[in-house]
């Protein structure tokens, strides 16, 4: 009986198939069963829409109120919440936009959803300390051949065809005087997002740096990183790798250094 009632109630709230459930409601009081049910159905949709509004503010701004509402309602139907926390409700948004005909060609919107959701994940990813310049200075010269760099657990890298990070910045900063409009890049760009000292960061990175970050993420050694740059930089490969590594340290991208103590 309990399961039957919950099945009917859920269907009435989530799928708007309310007739069966209305028969279960005790009548009486100032309002009828239909209005009583409506309170729950309305709360269900509005709570989930509010969650998406909070999680995707720039996507919202990019596509406008009407389309964003359509996106939300379509998403709620297709991906009802399967996690006890609303924090994860929007996790399928990129997938939803890609697979829905009405949105699958709006690449700036798909990329913005990806960028915003990444920040959600970065925000509450495990925290880790940042390696300091002083710690790097203490690495013995002969240990550099064994050095492996550990990036922040929050680190994520994406590839965008459009100027998604720049648009996100201009909308987030409410820069209405000089807004940056969505624009397709001449070539695909790499964007990294991470958290250091509880603050979230992002920036675009050149291809050679992106390749090195991928290797570092896979815990390849510093010589492996240098080798990656050999073709492009020749004898200056080590210098370029060291330069990039220094930048990562300054930005708090590195949470640990692993090397043989010799």
């Amino acid at each position: 009986m309990l399961k039957d009632i919950q099945t009917k109630f859920k269907a009435a709230v989530m799928q708007d198939t309310k007739e069966a459930f209305l028969l279960e409601i005790e009548e009486g009081g100032k309002i009828g069963p239909e209005q009583r049910l409506h309170i729950y159905a309305h709360a269900y949709k509005s709570r989930l829409v509010d969650t998406l509004v909070e999680d995707f503010p720039v996507l919202h701004s990019l596509v406008g109120d009407d389309m964003f509402e359509d996106i939300c309602l379509g998403y709620i139907d297709k991906y009802p919440s399967s996690h006890p926390s609303l924090r994860y409700f929007g996790q399928h948004m990129v997938q939803f936009l890609k697979e829905t005909e009405a949105y699958s060609n709006i690449i700036p919107a798909i990329e913005m959803a990806d960028f915003e959701w990444n920040f959600n994940d970065v925000f509450d990813a495990p925290d880790a300390r940042s390696v300091s310049v002083e710690e790097v200075a203490k690495i013995p010269a002969q240990a550099w051949t064994t050095l492996r760099i550990h990036l922040q657990p929050s680190f994520v890298m994406s590839r965008y065809k459009w100027n998604t990070p720049a648009v996100w910045s201009t909308v987030s900063d409410k820069n209405d005087d000089h807004p940056i409009m969505p624009e397709e890049y001449p070539k695909i760009s790499n964007c990294i997002q991470w958290k250091s000292d509880l603050k979230c960061f992002f920036r675009t990175v050149p291809d050679d740096e992106a390749a090195l970050l991928n290797l570092a993420k896979d815990h390849k050694s510093f010589p492996d990183l240098c080798e990656q740059l050999l073709e492009e930089y020749g004898e200056a490969a080590s210098m370029r790798a060291a330069e990039l590594f220094k930048g990562w340290i300054m930005e708090g991208l590195v949470c640990d250094l692993e090397y043989l103590k010799v």
Binding site: S81, P84, P153
Partner: protein, 277 residues
């Protein structure tokens, strides 16, 4: 759990911890005895929420209040959720853990709302078993809160207060009595809130919630986005006179005002609490 002595600690007068107030709480010394956290907001791996939580827990007693245990669901208990809850409790070391007498999930989907249960023997047996299981898993009694409701069922054959009372006895759990929710449900279902309070066993009441709501004339929506209204303050006064001194807090979930405004409500609760004890 059965047969262990019920030892309700009195924590004083508290407030729901909200992100808007982190800095002010940590930089000042607000006259608040304890804080209640929404468990799900802290069931994450890192970030500012946990950072601030760790600092606030060093200075104030905390209790954990969840919204997604879905104790009344006909789905199996969500052990992933309970494991996360237990892990958080190990970190927070709360004075107690509470959730709601309701269901929130069914068929693997979450409504993210506190859905009412039919109150009859079948539900009582089902929920009592689940409460016992959760208490054994967490190694402590839990508190269940009466949720506001807008629907009652034809298949119910007892009142909510009878159900809650019998559930607490059967499962040996405790009760978080939300005085505002009693007022809201009384308005929506046309019963006298005092009848509800009179039926409660003072031994089982461990905590009280006070909150505001939105009155739409024919019905009240439990929004927790307004100050506590005078009628609810009066009902709180009656509750304390009937049940004795109970740990009490102000719960605001939306339209979060400056901390000072909520402190005034905490003071009012304290004044009522003191005048009756």
């Amino acid at each position: 759990m059965k047969n262990t002595k019920i030892d309700n600690q009195f924590l004083g007068f508290g407030l729901g911890l909200r992100t808007d107030h982190y800095e002010e709480i940590l930089s000042g010394d607000p006259p608040i005895d304890w804080f209640e956290i929404i468990s799900e907001n802290y069931m994450v791996k890192g970030g500012r929420q946990l950072y601030h939580l760790d600092r606030i827990k060093e200075r104030y007693p905390l209790v954990m209040h969840g919204v997604s245990m879905s104790i009344g669901s006909s789905d199996p208990l969500n052990m992933d959720y309970l494991n996360d809850l237990k892990r958080l409790a190990e970190r927070v070391k709360p004075r107690w853990i509470s959730d709601h007498l309701c269901w929130t999930s069914h068929g693997g989907h979450n409504t993210h709302d506190l859905m009412p249960l039919p109150y009859n023997q079948e539900t009582l047996k089902h929920v009592a078993q689940r409460v016992k299981h959760v208490q054994d898993f967490l190694g402590q009694r839990i508190l269940l809160e009466n949720a506001s409701s807008y629907v009652t069922y034809k298949v119910s054959d007892m009142t909510e207060w009878e159900f809650l009372h019998h559930l607490a006895e059967e499962a040996d759990c405790l009760i978080l009595l939300d005085v505002n929710n009693i007022y809201v449900s009384g308005y929506n279902h046309d019963f006298d809130p005092k009848t509800y309070i009179d039926y409660m066993d003072p031994q089982r009441i461990c905590q009280i919630h006070l909150a505001g709501h939105e009155n739409n004339g024919d019905f009240i929506i439990d929004t927790h986005d307004h100050p506590v209204i005078d009628e609810v303050w009066q009902l709180y006064d009656y509750t304390i006179r009937t049940l004795g001194r109970v740990t009490t807090m102000i719960e605001r979930d939306d339209h979060i005002p400056p901390l000072a405004e909520l402190i005034e409500e905490v003071k009012r609760a304290r004044a009522i609490g003191k005048s009756q004890c």
